[in-house]
Symmetry: D2
């Protein structure tokens, strides 16, 4: 059994990790840690774990932990793990970091977007951006995974096949994303106060969301050229789910079937990517509670523009599920072990 | 492997059954059947099953099916299975019926409440009311289970320990129940049209809901005396969940601890019943997607009245989950096999 | 024009007051005050007022204000107005207090339930409990109105005719209430964090909600005897609305028509009470944005129990609307002036 | 008083019209008509009108009605009014048609998108597209208004100033729209069944929504050149509201202030357009129940792209409210008469 610890176990992503790991046949959770709930029994914080998890949240020194565990999931606020991790820790234990600290390869970009100095240049270079479907080999050999953000996961999985094949104009990519409210976490905020966000829809962080550089970095890496995108996240009154509606201009007027073949080339054998039939478009409800990313697309009448629609569960494929998928890859387990449950509906 | 069929697989309860059975280690689904979706691939009806279930819905003759299967789940409208089932079928296969047809022991009551004649008196006598926690032995020996209604499951589990111990006045029991909208099924109706029920709460079928006689029958059977209840169901704008707030008058002013001991006597070792700590009350969110029934209670200041609150997921413990629990009992499997996933939150 | 001030204008009830007063033909809002938003323009706090209200929130000394205004609405947290109000103020200006400070006639009860000492016994005696339909004369002569709580308004309007006529057993009254989340106000709290309360229903403050003594006081006053109730509030995932399902035992088995006549006797000519037809039950959606209280009832089969269902908009009839209705009565205006808009649907 | 009739009074837009007209000081509703609810009292169909509207729905011959009324609002399904209207009717009465029948100037386009032959070429030429802010003079002189669709209203008000000034590339306009469910009307449909659309977001009619040609027609007319847009509507789990996120490429890199001046030039004096401050973006909650359209915009870092966000209440500015605004213009009343209520929040 793989001995696992979840540091930052009481945010929504942390809790989802604990939920998924509990049903993983090869994992035993040994340590749960939470700064805000130190010394509290986990089931008193999340009552869904009543009669299931009797662990207490403890505060632990990471290096000490690394000697007792096989894998540590870090689900902490941005700016923390870049200070916490050391080479020694990584020698002892594999790490999946769900924060943004090791996602951006450029320290300058990181500091510009997160307003925090990054003190861990070396580890930054070692870290693999854990978009599972696109980095399997690198992930399987890595000891430090920077688990992708929720929006980037959905946007990148939607667009990468087109970008890889170079069929899109590089300067006209628009990603209009819609997210459920759990993406904003458990911290209290007027924006996520029920009466303020229920029954309303709004855009936020227009042109200024921190997931923008992450999307651009990965698109550019695959493409070779610099790609900059217009990314507009929206808040939708529902608990879970992200829908990305992405727009691109085709360099040449490809046919529907040509593009379908591109998607199949990259995703046909992927366990967690489901391509929609022609004329069918993903809805967030069909992936809820699962690690799937559903993708569908269409062309406009003049076939100069493509509209791609992707859907994920932001807490699963957009966070905890992909983290477990990455762990499976790192430990050479079946990629979907512990992630086989059917999406729940209606919920 | 147990070979299973789900007849009526495209209603919400049927679909939930398929979902749960897919993750059951000892079950293989062999047949899905649906009158309205005959010949359609299951994943085209419920897109959460995309890439998971490639079965087609077929219309099948029940007797023929009974030769090929080990268990049949019937998730059909009321009034159908009382005509469909035969002794021959039951000799071949075990049956869990999720409709109301075999729940009421009295044909007269059935006909009064459902306005349908019951033609199957013999099987009615054989059928076991499948409230798992209270009928384990009978269920394990039975070939025909009448799976309880969603409201009765929650109300009965909340009240039966008190009724069994005879500590409540028999003529002053009130059950004020609140249900999510999935309980009303997938058939179209103005009541469940989004804009009509979203952002509103209402009572419905006040004093006239068909689950009333079912609750009264089981309370009376355990108690010995005739018990009649006031049962008021309400529709709450959420997908899943039932909360029953039950009120009773204590014959003697029992203390909190005395009553706590009663609940522990009956439920301490039950896998799916979770008793809340003093001062904590169940919420539907903590049981979502699971087979748990959470129960908490308090006394009013004069200790003459008890308020018991129970919460279940109406599609799991209130329908498909309990059906699988009953199957486990019928086949001598671990009672919680296939039902171990942690409740999902927030969802 | 009546010159009005709203002190505590940036809570939900305060904002609703401002909204209603803006459409009141005889009122001019002169002063808005808010401790948390001092010096901010109102439309920057509530953007629905963009281009409508350019007033700034100011902090004001109440006595000074009382010289410039005709009426002051106090929409402040409990425990504040019992300290703020003075005889001098009340000589200058009429006051409607939306807090609980002047509702309970007994200082002991107030201190028991609110854990605050009440220093204003004299004014407590002068204050009129402003349940408009039941205290019209007193309200019209009063200078200090204790505006009722949201739950008490709905529960009392539902039950008072029966209590006044003495047809209910006094010790078996149960009020099972369901409220939208706006009732919990704009202050941040895990309970009202979107992902925590959306898609779930729960009871809270079971047997310990502060509105209990308020309901009991008014029922007892009308009845003559001490009445104690079992009151269970529930939180429902919707923005607005309260539904009270009240249960009572009839001393004698009255007929439906007898009870209908009782309701008509008290409410037939009331502008804001709408009695439902037989077999129809109120839903919160039909009163949204209006000052109506809809009431329906039925009897159980043995006619020993009555179930009464009442519905209000918690922010209108349960707070700001009733406050304006009381103002209308105090100034001898038409009772429904400024309160005539049709309930909005679907919303 | 203006004598008004609403034909098709029992759809959501029709009902909203009745609600608004009830509070209009210069209008008296004389006739309500509904094919599906003929002979039923209005308050039995929409219980918010209980004690308010005692009119019966009658089926009436339009020509006969035209002699008794000053204005007729037609809120009927597409394809009906193109057959119903005659010159005689229009000589007798003014008409606001909320269907699509008179919106598209080209019969071919109409027939292509609606699959119905248009038999009323003459009236089509007379009809004015009633986007109030942009056609005031024409509306005030017209007897037949084609009231705009909900999406086109929001998209056009957002984009027209930029199009009129010619600062956008004509072939790269993308409108990503999000609508509440009431936009789909009261007819039953699996898509709008509560459990199917609650807690999910999806795109629908991607590249094939009928509002596309309407948007293109009006943009092209103002611009002079043919403009074609990519329009993607999404369904959001809320009752009311439309948010349009529109993307355009600037021909020259205008500054924020230049564009701000353009918006002010066209909208500064408009009663129902509210321009958001820099950095603030509209949310549907701030316009609910009102006729406002809120507009905000920003530029991306390279200032080559503009993102404009517009918000309306789909049933008010997107249907019934704009219809009343148009009536006000047609009768030379104050433009906002009957439309002055403050947006309701939280609701």
């Amino acid at each position: 059994m793989i001995k696992a610890g979840v540091i930052g176990a009481t945010g929504y992503a942390g809790q989802e990790l604990v939920r998924i790991l509990y049903n993983h046949p090869e994992v035993e959770i040994k340590v749960l840690s939470s700064k805000n709930h130190n010394n509290q029994v986990y089931e008193s914080i999340y009552k869904n774990f009543n009669k299931i998890c009797e662990l207490k949240c403890e505060e632990n020194e990471l290096e000490a932990l690394s000697n007792q565990l096989d894998i540590i999931f870090l689900s902490l606020p941005h700016g923390v793990t870049s200070k916490l991790l050391t080479d020694t820790i990584l020698k002892n234990v594999k790490v999946v970091d769900l924060s943004a600290d090791y996602r951006l390869k450029s320290e300058e970009l990181y500091e510009y977007w997160y307003k925090i100095k990054h003190d861990n240049k070396d580890l930054l270079n070692q870290a693999i951006y854990g978009l599972s479907e696109w980095k399997k080999k690198e992930i399987s050999k890595s000891r430090l995974i920077a688990n992708p953000g929720c929006y980037p996961t959905c946007a990148l999985l939607s667009l990468l096949p087109l970008i890889k094949e170079g069929i899109l104009e590089e300067d006209n990519i628009i990603i209009d994303a819609k997210s459920g409210v759990s993406g904003a976490g458990r911290s209290l905020n007027l924006t996520t106060h029920f009466s303020e966000c229920n029954e309303s829809v709004k855009a936020y962080n227009v042109t200024s969301h921190r997931h923008t550089p992450e999307i651009e970095q990965e698109l550019s890496e695959i493409n070779g050229n610099e790609i900059s995108v217009t990314f507009t996240p929206h808040l939708v009154p529902m608990n879970r789910g992200i829908l990305c509606t992405s727009y691109g201009n085709l360099k040449n007027s490809n046919s529907y079937d040509e593009i379908k073949q591109i998607y199949e080339k990259y995703y046909q054998n992927e366990l967690f990517i489901r391509l929609a039939k022609k004329g069918v478009f993903p809805e967030t409800k069909w992936v809820k509670g699962s690690n799937y990313c559903d993708i569908g697309f269409t062309l406009n009448k003049s076939a100069s523009k493509i509209i791609v629609i992707g859907a994920i569960d932001n807490l699963v494929k957009g966070a905890a599920g992909q983290a477990v998928q990455n762990m499976n890859l790192m430990f050479n387990l079946e990629e979907n072990m512990g992630l086989k449950s059917v999406p729940m509906f209606p919920v």
